[in-house]
Every structure is written in C-alpha cells, then in structure tokens.
C-alpha cells in the first residue's frame, strides 16, 4: 500500500483499524542469492538498494532479535557530513544527499530535519581543529561555517556562553544541513520498501555459523531458524561483527564498547538545533516528542553488556548542566547503552574480506546512524559487483595492512 493523503484519509474514516502489515514475515527459504546478517538501518538499506538498484530480488535479511532493535534504535540520530578527510567527506556527504530525498524515495516519512548541527570549541586546540575542518569542508563543497560565541548564542539561545565556565564556549562550527531523523522510521521505511521488492526479512534468526565450501568460499549461514544457503553473505552487525567474522575465521581490527544515551522528560520546544561538544563530552538535541536526547561518551572497556557505568552518563550531564543551566532541574527518564564497534582509525570498514563471497560493513563506531543511506548504497553496489564501490574503496579492510589509514580520530565528534 502506498502512503498518501488519500490513504491516510481513508484509514482515518475506517478508525485506523485496517492498516495492513508494513512488511512480510516469511519463513526462511533454503537458499538466496544474497544474505544480509543484521536488520538494522545499514543492513535493511543494503537489501533495499540491492533490490532497487542492482536487480537482485532473492535476498534475505536475517536478524537475531527484532528489526531495528540494535544500535539503530539506540543512537542519538545526529546527521552531518563535516568530516576532515576527502574519503570521509565523500561517503558522509553522499549520505546527507540521500537523507534529503529519503522520505520520498521510500514513501515513508523518516522525519529528516536539517535543523543545524553546532559543534562547540572550548580550547585553542578546538578552535584550530574546527577552523581546519571548516576550510576543508568548504573546499569539498560541504557547508560548514565558523561562529563566534555570540553568533552561537544567537543560533541556539539556551546556550551558556559565560566566560566563567570551566570550559567556556570559544566558538562553534555550524553545519546548517546537519540535523536529525527518526531512527525507527529509517529501519521501518527501508524494511517496508525492501519487503515490497521481495526481500525476506527474517527476525529471531541468530546466525550460529558461517558455512564455507572446500575452496574456502562462503556457501551459507546456519541460523537458529535453520540453514540458509547463499554464495554472497554480507555481515552488517555493528558491535557483534567480531563474533560473526570469527565464525568465518577472520580476525577484525575492532573493539566493541558500550556507548550510552539518555532522554529527559518531554518539554515544550526549547532547543532548535543539535549541539555537540567533543571536549566536555556532550551531545544534545530535542526530539519531536519533546524529550531532550543526550549522548554520552563510550565506557573505557570493551563489553557486550548493552549497559555502562553511571559515572559516564553523570559526566555528560555535568557538561549539559554547565552549557544549558536552564536544563538543571529536568529529570532523566531513560538511560541505555548500545555496543559500538570501534576501529583503530575511527573510520568504517566496508568491502570484501579474505573469504570469497563474504562481505563486511562495520566499524562505524560511535557515528553510524548518519551514514545509514550512504553506507547501505555503496555496500549494496560492492556486494552486487563483487568489487568495491569507488566511495567505499578507501575503507577496505586491507588499509590496516597497507597503512593507508583514514585517521578521523580527531574529526569524529564523539569521545574516543
């Protein structure tokens, strides 16, 4: 069913009782042309673009839990493309361009809201780094501008620019096309569109083994819902990538860390943009429900526990209360953790693996949500052609052997 004003009016007259299921929940078939492991935004998007742009229709997405229940449902939904290096600019800007038309593309409102992402500078080093980013981005045709503290305050009125702060705001870099989107809607929109193109989304099917033939090539996966044969398997499993790749005997340059986020009680519109600060570890925006959505830094140690230390969240709230004194009496409603897979150079890994037929898209670390459409687009092309998409090529696994790292450790805005 295509969503339109007409369909909305008709369902409203029917008391909203006859909306159909938005995607099928089929039994797994014995074999597929391609299997994607992980039904988050990146995995579902990959299946969608494989079907839409590359003509594959016999595709399965297997998911150990429920669709969109991993990091897709746990992040703080920030979208921006103001990265330093050309390789990163290419993939994140491709993503932003896809975000701009994604609701139309999927016929599903992903609530992309380019409300502006403002990154605060608190030290002389921050100022130098951010100005370098501004110049690099503008050379690449990506919008990014430098604001004085007064201009930052004019753009975001609740911000405290008092020089008496422990880490005063000395300026900010603003990407006006940056913003947020509705995380669940991204997963649901891709799932619905992919399912309509014939993709089988198989939930509650945890992969327990990756099967390989006598030559070492992939021939399928074993899941808790049976064996599924396929000569193309794409692992898009975020924090659990090391576990899955280990099943195929491939060691990865990844460490999985808990990353926490929390939301406040809902209030009236008070914060009109996204504000983030590397230095004091605070990321904040306001959802359309009115909750303040706050992101913390990673915990110090690797873990799969989907939780983290309270002191990490408390550290972030200290910073939020300094930057936004007006939020001091707000109550936090929920606090949770997601498991993020972090690479040594803080850039993702997209492409082929030493195992023929096995592809991997991982290492998005603390900033994968913004890349969802671009990541899915280039990974689908990579899987379809059996060779890296030009935008994905620099992010190949081999870079850790050749030494051509894409060192975004200073550029990525989340605490490392």
């Amino acid at each position: 069913m295509r969503f339109s004003l007409f369909s909305l009016a008709r369902q409203a007259l029917g008391g909203h009782a006859r909306w159909p299921a938005q995607w099928r929940s089929p039994e797994p078939k014995a074999a597929y042309d391609a299997v994607i492991v992980g039904a988050g935004g990146h995995g579902l998007g990959t299946a969608y673009y494989l079907a839409k742009a590359h003509g594959l229709r016999n595709i399965a997405v297997v998911e150990k839990g429920w669709l969109g229940g991993g990091n897709t449902g746990r992040n703080t939904t920030i979208i921006r493309s103001n990265y330093l290096w050309e390789e990163s600019e290419a993939i994140y800007e491709l993503s932003v361009k896809l975000w701009e038309t994604l609701s139309d593309e999927l016929n599903y409102n992903v609530m992309y809201s380019p409300r502006g992402v403002m990154m605060l500078a608190h030290t002389v080093h921050d100022i130098q780094v951010f100005k370098r980013h501004v110049h690099a981005n503008r050379l690449a045709g990506i919008d990014n501008e430098w604001l004085t503290p007064e201009e930052a305050k004019a753009f975001c009125s609740p911000l405290n620019i008092s020089p008496k702060l422990r880490y005063p705001v000395l300026g900010a870099a603003l990407q006006r096309r940056g913003g947020t989107a509705r995380h669940d809607a991204v997963a649901w929109g891709y799932a619905r569109a992919a399912s309509a193109l014939g993709v089988d989304i198989i939930e509650n099917a945890e992969v327990t083994a990756i099967r390989r033939d006598a030559n070492g090539a992939v021939e399928g996966v074993e899941t808790t819902r049976g064996t599924i044969k396929s000569k193309k398997v794409g692992v898009v499993a975020a924090g659990h990538t090391s576990v899955l790749m280990n099943m195929a005997g491939v060691r990865m340059p990844l460490e999985s860390y808990p990353l926490q986020a929390l939301v406040s009680e809902p209030v009236k519109p008070v914060l009109s943009c996204v504000v983030m600060s590397n230095t004091v570890h605070a990321y904040i925006s306001q959802s359309d429900k009115g909750e303040l959505v706050i992101g913390a830094g990673t915990d110090a140690y690797t873990s799969y526990s989907q939780t983290g230390g309270l002191h990490v969240s408390a550290h972030t709230l200290d910073a939020i209360c300094d930057l936004f004194p007006t939020f001091r009496r707000m109550r936090m409603m929920r606090n949770w953790g997601g498991i993020v897979d972090v690479t040594p150079d803080r850039s993702p890994i997209i492409g082929l693996t030493p195992v023929p037929g096995l592809y991997v898209n991982c290492g998005w670390g603390t900033g994968g949500f913004k890349a969802t459409p671009g990541s899915a687009y280039v990974f689908a092309a990579t899987m379809a052609r059996g060779e890296p998409h030009p935008v994905a090529a620099p992010f190949a696994l081999e870079r850790f052997t050749t030494g051509r790292l894409i060192d975004e450790a200073a550029a990525a805005a989340v605490a490392h």
Partner: protein, 100 residues
C-alpha cells in the same frame, strides 16, 4: 562502575582509579624489521574482541600506578580474576565466578 581488585595493592577499588589498557598478552614481535606487513597489522590492529572471557590490561593510575591483567566476562562485565603483568593467563576452573 566496576569494582576492580588490584593484585599489587590487594584491595578492590572503584574503576575511576584505573585506566583501561586493551587486550592483554599481545606480544610485540622481537624483530619488527623482519615481520611481514600482515603480521605487523595483526600485532598492531587485529583484536580478539570476544563475547565472553577477555584477558585485558588495566593500570592502577590513581593508586600504585602499575599495570596488571584481568579476566573479565564481556557479557556480564564481571571480573573473574586479576593477576600481575608478565604472568601467564590463569586457567579458570568451574567455580571461577565465585571469587578471585
């Protein structure tokens, strides 16, 4: 916050006294010049990152200042054993989760 037993100070102290040091028992090749690119990448970057028992380094930065190793279950975050740096990874018996 984890409660971590320092094997030198012989007491359990809060995580904020310690700094995490990554995977333990990663041995630097004795002659780096003679190591292949693949082996060097494996030493520098490839990590076990297991879902389960992980041998890892910690440093008691706000205490004795010394490095030691810990065995921790990365699913529950429970620390099963800590032991001095330079000693081999201890075997865990069936009752390992009862104490250190």
């Amino acid at each position: 916050m984890l409660l971590i037993h320092c094997p030198y100070c012989r007491m359990a102290r809060p995580e904020s006294e310690f700094r995490y040091g990554g995977e333990a028992h990663v041995v630097r090749p004795a002659e780096p010049a003679n190591v292949s690119d693949a082996d060097w990448a494996a030493f520098l970057y490839m990590r076990a990152n297991p879902k389960g028992i992980h041998a890892e380094r910690w440093r008691h930065v706000h205490g004795c200042g010394r490095f030691f190793n810990a065995l921790r279950n990365t699913v529950t975050d429970q620390i099963l054993r800590t032991y001095p740096a330079g000693t081999p990874q201890p075997a865990l018996d069936a009752h390992a989760e009862d104490g250190r």
